[in-house]
Symmetry: C2
Amino acid sequence: MSPRPKNPPPDRRGEILEAAFRVFAEKGYRAATMAEIARAAGVTPAALYYYFPSKADLFRAAVTERRSQLQPALAALASPDARELPPREFLGALLRAMADFLADERTRAVIRILLAEGPRDPSLVAIFQEEVYGNIGAVLGYLEQHMAQGNVRPMDPRVFLLFFQGPLLAMVIFRDLLRLGPYRDLPNPALVEPLAETILAGLVPEKR
Amino acid sequence: MSPRPKNPPPDRRGEILEAAFRVFAEKGYRAATMAEIARAAGVTPAALYYYFPSKADLFRAAVTERRSQLQPALAALASPDARELPPREFLGALLRAMADFLADERTRAVIRILLAEGPRDPSLVAIFQEEVYGNIGAVLGYLEQHMAQGNVRPMDPRVFLLFFQGPLLAMVIFRDLLRLGPYRDLPNPALVEPLAETILAGLVPEKR
DNA sequence: GTACTTATTAATTGAGCGTTCAGTAAGTAA
DNA sequence: TTACTTACTGAACGCTCAATTAATAAGTAC
């Protein structure tokens, strides 16, 4: 192959990032090789070093790039419109929005990377923590207000988040990451609807 | 150092397995080197090959060894005594037993390994799936019975498990694996007690 | 004490991988 | 046309690391 190809691809850098993300998501950081990423991107390994100074930098760039795709889904949860809803509707919508968010294959890839590399790379965790908690903040404001008014069972907001995110996260881990047999064919709604019903029955006190 | 030391340790193999488990748990499979495991066990790398044919075999053996430590905690959940309890007490005890189970550092190490290596090693997942689901089965029997009698809100048992395990698993991931700031100082009971209260209020219908 | 087995080491090998570097075709500017 | 920049390639380097091998001290059986 010759340098400077006839039809110069307009966004080599972007192609490399996408290929890198795919390979890192599939193999993990250590097992992913620059050679394989290069192959996936249709270039030679050396070309990767034209755009990124090291494997670590490429990894960071690839993951950070994808992260911004997650923003809208979370932001929607904190929209002013949503804040006008009564607790039952608000919390149900929140739950469904999170489920949609987790239904995205790229989201699951990020989770896969985060679970595999996060425990050994705090700076990677920090990237997501900042972003996710920035958006969750608004949701918590809503909650605190309704807890004070007695419309929602009062509790530590951290506990609330675990309560809400936990079952969904567990489903993604069991079904999509570990591929546990019994969960293979459990569709999202089959979890979300009973979950919403049961959580809300316990979380939102009966109308007085 | 001389071969065949003066005071021959009685259980070299066990020491190696323990050292290997620690290193694998901390570094992950790829990043853990035979040299480091050997150092942790107080032998040379070649000694590892006296007991285990390859790195992969050592890894499998180390993880499998630990797995059996988890059995008692899960078995207790399915004891005949527990099955006599009314749903509220049974489910509360189940939740607390799971929390205790997850409080064990070795359990968390297994989870860390499972999340990091599981997505790329189905046979590793299979080891745990078999064991965990063997014991969960008995719990599900209890549940089905009480669901049929209307004492527990009827639902897919898989959903029930996600519902029960999810928040605890999420706490372990956020607090212990990813070390998210806000969760750093959230003690187990601070999650378990409100969780039990809220889940049970929603899961177990009001007394008629 | 001799023969054999067990448990271990030191040294080495060989593959794989991140990274570097010199070279070069294609595009751009004067 | 010349000078320069951009965007790569092919080849090689150096290192790490899993795995092998030959040697050997300590224990055991006879």
